[in-house]
Each structure stands twice: as C-alpha cells, then as structure tokens.
Amino acid sequence: MTFITSFISQTMVYATVYTLTSLGIILGGRTGIFNVSAEGILLASASTGFLTAYLTGSWLMGFIAGALIGTVFGFILAFVHETFKINQFILGIILVIFGSGLSDLLYKIIIGVRLSAPQAPSVPSVIIPFFSKIPVISGILNQDVVVYFMYFAVLVAYWFYYKTKVGLETRAIGENPKAADVVGVNVKRRRYLATIIGSALIGVAGAYLPIAITGTYSPDISAGRGFMAIGIAIFASWKPQRAILGGFLFAGIEVIAFQLKLISANIPYQFFLMLPFISVLIIMMIFKKHIEFPASVGKPYSRE
C-alpha cells in the first residue's frame, strides 16, 4: 500500500514538470510558434529559480524568477522569429545550448564548489484534513501548491481554447494565420503573448525541479524532459486536456524506471534512464494516426 501511495505521489510530482512544460509548448504551437527551446528554458529557470529561492529564502520568489527567465526566453524566441523570420528550430536549438550554458555558469558564479549542496526552502503542501490520512488518496491529495497550480493552468487553458472566442481565434492562427489576419486578429501580438506566457509556464516547471523535487541544483537537472515534453505536446495533438494525460503517462514510466533501477542491481542503470525515451518512441508510433498538427506550426507568416 505504501508503495502505491508513494508511486502515485512521485508520479504526480514529475507529471507537474511534464504537463507544465508541454502546456507551455502547446501555447506557442497553437499560434504557429514551435518552442523547441523548452529544454534550455527548463535548465536556465532551474538554476535561476533555485539561486533566487536560496538567496532570498522564499520558494515563491524562486518560482517568480523561473517564470521571468522563461518570459525572457519566450520574448527572444518570438522577437527574433517575427522580426528576422529565422527558422524556429534553429533558433530553438540555439536557445537550448544557451540555456544549458547559462544555468551552470550562474550556479558556479554565485555558489561555486561546496562539499554539501545548498538546500532550497521547501514548497508548502496543501493539507486537506481527514482525506490526507487515507492511503493512496493521500498520495493524490498531499501535494505541494505547484501541483495544484498545474491543474489550474490546464483547466484555464482548456476553457480558453474551447469556451472563449479569443481561444477560437488563437486556434485559428495555428491553423491558418491568414484566416485570422483577414478577420482583424492581430497575429503578431497573439504570437508574442502566447510564446511568452507559454515560456513562463516552462520557467515555472524549471524552477520546480530543484526547489520541490531534488531540493538542490545539479547540472543537467532537466535530463531531457524539455525534449520529452515536445513529444507530449505532439502526442496530445496540441490539446491541453490531453497534455495532462501525456504528462501522467510519461511521469509514470519515469517513476517505474526509477523504482526498477533501485531493485535490480545486475542491469546497468543507464538502461533504465533510457526507458522513458524508448516508451515515447513506441507511444508515438502507436498513436501516429490519431495525432493532429496545427497546420502553421513552425512557419513564419507575412502578408505580402
């Protein structure tokens, strides 16, 4: 019973990282901007988020710093793409390398090398009386506030895309920017907004890694999850309600691989590190036929 409770509990923590990151990618993608730089944003915001939380002693400041770093990355992505029409994928890859370098650099400048790793202030959990004591259910409910923020973000995104006209227009941009343009929607502004808000969400996910999961920063802390989140966004056909399913699925696989690593001594641990990536490949192959893609993803738009 405790095993199941801890499995669920851990899965939800990792699902938060996956879901927030892929939701951020989806926001940009729905307006045609494919945010390939998620991995870089995760790393940069993990580092700055951790440092801010550590130095100020406030977990909240850490998340705000992470979101701000995401905003900066999102702005760079949108600005360089919209102004110079540079290929989004190349731009994204450059930002990944930039973010990865920046994260280690900042950590080394501010913290340097220490024998014991500095610890970030912990994130408060939401404790619901009575229910929090029942096994299994407690694994679901005893979570920190960021997990609940993730649920909230998915709900808001769903409501936005399918219950509001702005959302309808935003989806229209992803399918056919010209169609949105000729009915008076400001395509450029929407692309900026979506990319920046999306990148800020990825920034929150990045700050979550050191502050809530490991307690401290270590190099390559995101371990490819930013790229996996791209897979989730695609697997989810760019729909928020499916991204959360994908987030749980991938997080579950990762936690299982982690548990297996602990109990089987004979198999090299790299094999288990590889499992999530192989599963993504297999899942993508299975769901290939059900995957939809906004038609304008990755393409620049200009009127003339």
Binding site: Y162, K163, T164, K165, V166, G167, L168, E169, R171, A172, E175, N176, K178, A179, A180, D181, V182, V183, G184, V185, N186, E292, A295, R303, E304
Partner: protein
C-alpha cells in the same frame, strides 16, 4: 451631380521592391452598385483592394469612406468601417466548421463563445440571400463554391456595407456563377455595395453596373453599363493590342487545315483506372490522337479527367488496358521514361504540380529534361551552360516577362509561370503534348498566346491532347472533342459537328 460615393481612393501608389504595382490610382465606387475592377493579371487590381482592406499599406494616397478621410492600418480597421473582402484563395480555417469560421474576429464578447445565438443570426443572413449550406461540416471538406459562400456570409455577419470579391469565379462553374450573381443582386437591393474583381470581360458585362479598368498599375477609365461593350473593354485592358474576340469574349484563333498523320501518335486502348476519393476513375476508355490534330477532352471537373491526365504520364496507374506512343507500349515505363519517348505534360495545378516554387526559372525549365544527354556532362554533372541556353530560349520564344532566368519562379505572375511550363514542354522535340486546363485563371492576352502555341504545335505535325473544363475554349481550338462523364467516354465529335448544347448535355450525363 450629387456626390454619393461610398469609397474613394485618391492618388494611391504602391511599390513592391522595384515593381510599381500602383501608380497614382484614383478609384471611386458609388453606393448600392456592383462596381467591376477589370484588368489583366498583374494589373494591380488585388493590390488596390488589399490596400483598401488594410492588408497592404500604400506608399502614398488617401482613402475616403462616406466622404470622410480614414486611416486603415489592418483588416481590424477596415472591418470596423464596414468593409468585407472575399479573397481569391480561401481564407477559412480548414479545421473549423462554417459557424466557427464566421464568428471569428467579431470584437464583442471576447471571453464568451455564443455558438447557438450566432448560429441563428447566420441562418437568418443565409435565408435572406438564398444561400444554403451545411454549418456543421469542417470547411476543408466543402467544395470551393460553398467556401466562397461562407466567406461572403462572414463578411456580412461582421456588418459589411462594402463587399470586395477578388476573382470570385475562378473555381465556380457556370450555374454557381449565376447563383452568385443572384445573391449579389439581392445584396445590392439591401444597400450593400459590391466591388467585383475579375479579368474576364464577359463577367463584367453580365454582372456590373460600372467598371474601372486598370492596366499596369494605372487607371485607364471608369465607365458605366450603357457605355460598356466587349470591344471597348478589350481596348481599355490591352491598349495597343488589337485582339479579335469571340461571342464569349475569348480570343479568336485560326485553325487552318493541317496534315493529319497517317498513323496515330498515341493510342489509348480500353484503359481502366481506379478513382481517388469520390471520383469513379476511368472505365474502358479508347481513343487515338493523330499528329497534326488537337483532341479536346471535355468534362465537368471530377468525372475522370484528372485520372486521364495522370495515367498518360504515369502508366502504373493502369489497372487494365494499354497506352501506345508512336506504336510502342508505355505500360511499364516510369514517368521520366514516358517523357523521354517524346511526351510532354503541363499539369492542371501549375503551382502545386507544375513548378518548384523556390527554384529559378532555369532550374524549372530543366525539370523533366534533366537526364537528357545534352544537359549532362560525363553522365554525372548538369551542364548549366546548356540549361541557361534552353532557359533563355524559352523566355524569348514564350515572351516570359522576367529580368533574368535566375529569378525564383514564384515571383512571376500566373500567366508567366504557365508560359515557362509551356516552354519547358518544347525544350526537346515533342510528339505528344498532354495539357490540362492550360489557360485557367489567365487573361485574354495570355490565353491567346497559349492557344497560338498549341495550334502551332499542331500545324507542325505534333499531337495535342487538351483536357479542359472550359467548353467554349475547347470549341475554339480543338479538331475533335471527346466527352467524359462519370469516367466513361460518351462520344467524340468532329469539328463540323460541334454543338455547345449537345456536348454540354453529354458532359452532365444527359
């Protein structure tokens, strides 16, 4: 005279790169009329209206609506001023249904989605105009005619008092054009003003109360219905050129008696092809094409003509039967080998299937000839000198308006792209030319040019198979016309037997 003009554009100038698209253009449309905007391809019609709609910003000039000077920076501004535009290429979101497409962009209630209420409003507008279509199907599944209706409703739903239609008839058949005209008349009665962009004189004569003729970015004249005549409009459109036109305002070409070859160049024997999607394919088709003749194939779109065009150059599509070229079967040949047998092909969709958009004119001329000996050095390298020569010759022989053969082909107008494709067909000796809708969307001048090239090929002993959905055109240039309906060959007419009514009836299965 009382001034009741709804729209006035004054001294508009627009330059794209080095090309002057509009030069000091002044344009006025009166309230409650259908105002035509006529000109050949590239005359600046669409550019002028895109400026009015706010998609392009003019380099110079002023816009007045209801006598008031206005500034239009984007469609957001123009929609607020009561301007709606239906573009030549569909601007609907293919994944959305009609309702979702129509309500897109209306300013009020940004954080609500009142589908039900809007649906009722849309239905009311549809009823008033007599336009009926399904509101629940994704628009990507709808034919071009219906998409256009949705775009018209979309403009009206946003409160358009001025409706701009950019080449609305490009993908419409005759009956749809009639229906469109009816709806436009109903709109005008309600006080809506319509600007109708076209390059077809016939449509201006039938649809418009007055017309402004543009030529190379300049206004030639604005005349009203009483002053309109075919001859006058042709003269305004082309100025120095003197073109003879037929009843249907198409260019006249002479078809002198030509020496028909004794043996057919191409024999099609009992071929069967499986159809794609809704088409029934081809069933047991046989015909011959002789040297020195143009065989026209008439069919309503979707009755097997696409399969016929494809199978002639891609014989792997054959499920039965055989095709002979110069007496040899091409049944087991690849498309490239078919080309090397002296067959040339110009596809229906010249942008998607005819060219490499980003390639230069030179590279596009080389396409399909790229394995021929003279374009190959040591069987390995492309002989660019020869390719340049061939491209230069094509540009010269086919009057392609371009500064250089190195220009990206996508920068040419539709007519010039078609000329390059036609020219490419004759880079090497051609015995059989298969051409599918070679003149669709082109102006009279280019149509005349293309017609003359086809006839020239025929007069020199070449065989031409011309698949064309425009029966008027086929009757001008064909020696014989074969009629396809539902994938079956309904009959072949000699030139002396041509009868628009009879052939038209067969085309729709009567």
């Amino acid at each position: 005279m009382k001034n009741k003009s709804l729209v006035e554009l004054k001294n508009v100038r627009k330059v794209f790169g080095k090309v002057i698209a509009l030069d000091n253009v002044t344009f006025t449309a009166e309230k409650g009329e259908i105002h035509g905007l006529l000109g050949e391809n590239g005359a600046g019609k669409s550019t002028l209206m895109n400026i009015l709609y706010g998609l392009y910003s003019p380099d110079k000039g002023e816009i007045y609506i209801d006598g008031k000077k206005v500034k239009i920076n984007s469609p957001f501004d123009s929609i607020k001023l009561g301007i709606g535009m239906v573009h030549q290429i569909s601007t609907l979101v293919p994944e959305f249904n009609a309702v979702e497409n129509i309500i897109l962009g209306t300013p009020e209630d940004k954080f609500k989605l009142p589908i039900k209420e809007e649906r009722e409003k849309i239905k009311k507008i549809m009823k008033e105009l007599g336009l009926i279509f399904s509101l629940d199907v994704k628009t990507k599944e709808l034919p071009a005619g219906v998409k256009q209706k949705i775009e018209i409703i979309r403009a009206l739903h946003k409160g358009a008092k001025l409706l701009i239609l950019d080449e609305p008839t490009t993908s419409l058949v005759e009956s749809e054009f009639r229906q469109l005209l009816k709806s436009l008349r109903a709109l005008v009665k309600k006080g809506v003003t319509v600007i109708f962009i076209t390059h077809k004189i016939k449509e201006i004569m039938e649809a418009c109360d007055s017309v402004t003729v543009l030529r190379r970015g300049k206004v030639q004249d604005t005349i009203n219905k009483e002053q309109m005549s075919k001859e006058k409009l042709v003269k305004l459109m082309f100025m120095e050129k003197d073109i003879k036109v037929t009843e249907s305002a198409l260019p006249k070409v002479e078809l002198p008696p030509a020496k028909k070859s004794k043996k057919p160049v191409c024999v099609v024997k009992n071929i069967e092809v499986k159809g794609k999607e809704k088409s029934k394919g081809l069933k047991n088709i046989s015909f011959e094409v002789y040297g020195g003749e143009i065989l026209g194939v008439a069919s309503v779109s979707g009755n097997g003509e696409k399969e016929l065009a494809s199978v002639m150059i891609n014989p792997f599509l054959l499920s039965n039967g055989d095709i002979l070229v110069n007496g040899e079967s091409i049944k087991h040949l690849s498309t490239l080998s078919v080309f090397n047998k002296g067959v040339a092909y110009t596809p229906e969709d010249r942008i998607k299937e005819g060219i490499l958009n980003e390639g230069s004119i030179k590279e596009n001329v080389l396409l399909g000839h790229h394995t021929e000996k003279r374009f190959f050095k040591k069987n390995l390298f492309i002989n660019w000198d020869e390719a340049t020569k061939a491209a230069k010759k094509t540009i010269k022989d086919y009057n392609v308006a371009t500064p250089s053969e190195e220009l990206a082909i996508r920068r040419l107008s539709g007519g010039n792209i078609q000329k390059v494709i036609m020219g490419r067909a004759f880079v090497s000796p051609t015995d059989l030319l298969i051409t599918h809708n070679p003149t669709s969307g082109l102006d009279v001048l280019t149509v005349e040019f293309i017609f003359n090239k086809l006839v020239e090929t025929r007069n020199n002993g070449g065989a031409v198979l011309c698949i064309n959905e425009d029966l008027d055109e086929l009757m001008i240039i064909s020696d014989r016309i074969a009629v396809l309906h539902n994938g079956e060959l309904k009959g072949i007419f000699q030139r002396s037997e041509f009868d628009k009514y009879k052939i038209g009836l067969l085309m729709i299965g009567g």
